[in-house]
Amino acid sequence: MELVAIFISAILINNFVLYYFLGICPFLGVSKKIDSAFSMGLAVTFVMTITAVVSWVINHWILIPHELDYLKIVSFILVIASLVQLVEMFIRKISPPLYQALGIYLPLITTNCAIMGLALLAALRDYGFVEAVIFGFGSGLGFTLAIIIMAGIREQLDLAEVPEPLKGAVIALIVAGILALAFNGFIGMIK
């Protein structure tokens, strides 16, 4: 039950983008077209799930036993950065079509605060291994949901007479605000 709660809450209630403001840069940058938003979402979900695993291992096998709490930030960021590179190379090797779809988004993910935020939040909340993985996967799906909705809306707004100074990031932020309002309806559903 606890796992389901973590999962649902990561997608709908404490959505990474709309509640924690994590991953705003790609959320605004890669949400212009649905297709690329979808690929970005998949890439983030994939990397988030792996990050959840790896950061848990680092945290619980190296940092906590040796009381190296203060190395958390630097080790997480290094691990994420190398992980993303590794994943990129790996995908390029095993599946060129997948690389075409996802690969170009992977470098963008390195400095995506959603990934780092995930590792930090999972550590902060002291999640167990399975919980951390579910949290990572759910958060990735939450990000994907938000960015796809946003891309759909922005594709439609491309065909709207949005006033000139509001075009682009501004209208996207306002839409994000209204989306955050709409997602508010789900709070309190998990307790």
Partner: protein
Amino acid sequence: MKLSVRMVVVLTSIGLLSGSFLATVGHLTKERIALNKQREIEEAIIQVIPGTVSTQKLYEERDLSVYGGKDEQGTVIGFAIHASGIGFQDRITLMLGTNTSLERTNRLAILDQKETPGLGAKITDAESFLQYWENRDCSGAISLRKPAARSAEELLPSEINTITGATISSEAVLGIVNSSLEHTRRLLKEGKLSSEAQDVN
């Protein structure tokens, strides 16, 4: 120097330098940070078990720690249950003081919450919520009075009043309290809450 060798050397040495620098900083701040944490907990324990002079950690796991509040003689005069769980919007962390037999509540303190300001956030408010938690019968599960009773006198000994308009937050706190009480009771029965456990540090 060959480029790849230089790459390895540069990065490794930056890593080494940063490691030693951080070790120093970590070492310097470690105690202070631990002290801050301890002080925060202690203040909360003193708040929920009046008369506490010193405290002792009796049990610890994720989402639930039990502390003993001691008087000047060093006898445990009450338990302080430090628990957290999911609230309306995000996690709620609270501290509940009880007597040593876990049959009466002492006081409740909310340490961390992100409930709706003006509504759910009233769980931190003494008048509308916390006052009802004093001296409740907690030998069984505590229950919620809804719709809210007009005065504390109307409530049963094991009842607390809902915050009008914030039933879910009230329920969330109640849920965290009841489950952690039950858990603590089990620990007590199993003899895991011995006051001979190590001092809080």
